[in-house]
Assembly symmetry: C2
Homo-oligomer: 120 residues x 2
DNA sequence: CAGAATCCTCAAGGATACTG
DNA sequence: CAGTATCCTTGAGGATTCTG
């Protein structure tokens, strides 16, 4: 406690996956299996764990459709949507970094994705 | 490789300490011992390790003053300075989070610190 | 003062199998 | 489909000691 807001944010959105999950959900609600497919390298256990934690922090919402086979949709809450500027600046710096290293062209698809949903 | 810029950024500025170190250096160059004191909870080994990694990525610069006792100053490079917007959005979201939880008042000092150096 | 060198712990993360 | 339940590994991070 008595931490600065930056620390608070970092403690909440820590780990390898949370920001990537949030990035996926910026495009709109997605199902568990969709997330599992679009986030490369994650496995079911990790995805479940991270989703639960994000839910507990009030960043995402979990909506269960009572049907068989089950359908569960995850979406950003208002608080979660407010992470958009963070994603944008992280993205922009990533581009700067790539430029500064002289490497390029390898990030096209993610960039466009974020541009489309740019609200600010 | 072929990662999106967000992933690239997160991979580079990962771990528990890097953002906090960068935050300290936004106020201007600082000595090793200063950083060691102002970053609560870090120890020498970790500080050294993180500084080396940040240096290797071109985010900070290390300046040695050849004297006894030794003096070493760390500062942000241009690339490092460009992380300012990220720090700001992380900070802003932290404040939002605190508001949404109804907790407050415990972050005053860090906030002012960042306002002073706000360049954007 | 600014570190290098060791040693150690634990928890984040991963692999796999099973289920309503 | 959307998860649990186990078991396991690795390395991030920590504590301590020594030094030019």
């Amino acid at each position: 406690m008595n931490e600065c807001p930056i620390e608070i944010t970092l403690n909440i959105i820590s780990g390898k996956w949370k920001f990537l999950i949030i990035k996926e959900l910026i495009d709109g609600p997605k199902r568990f299996s969709q997330l599992n497919r679009s986030i490369k390298g994650i496995n079911q256990r990790m995805l479940t764990k991270q989703l639960r934690e994000l839910e507990r922090e009030g960043i995402i919402e979990r909506k269960v459709y009572p049907q068989i086979p089950p359908k569960v949709e995850y979406s950003l809450t208002d608080l979660g949507e407010k992470l958009h500027p963070v994603l944008l600046t992280l993205h922009q710096w990533g581009v700067e970094y790539i430029k500064s290293k002289g490497v390029d062209t390898s990030y096209k698809e993610c960039e466009t994705k974020l541009q489309f949903t740019q609200k600010v």
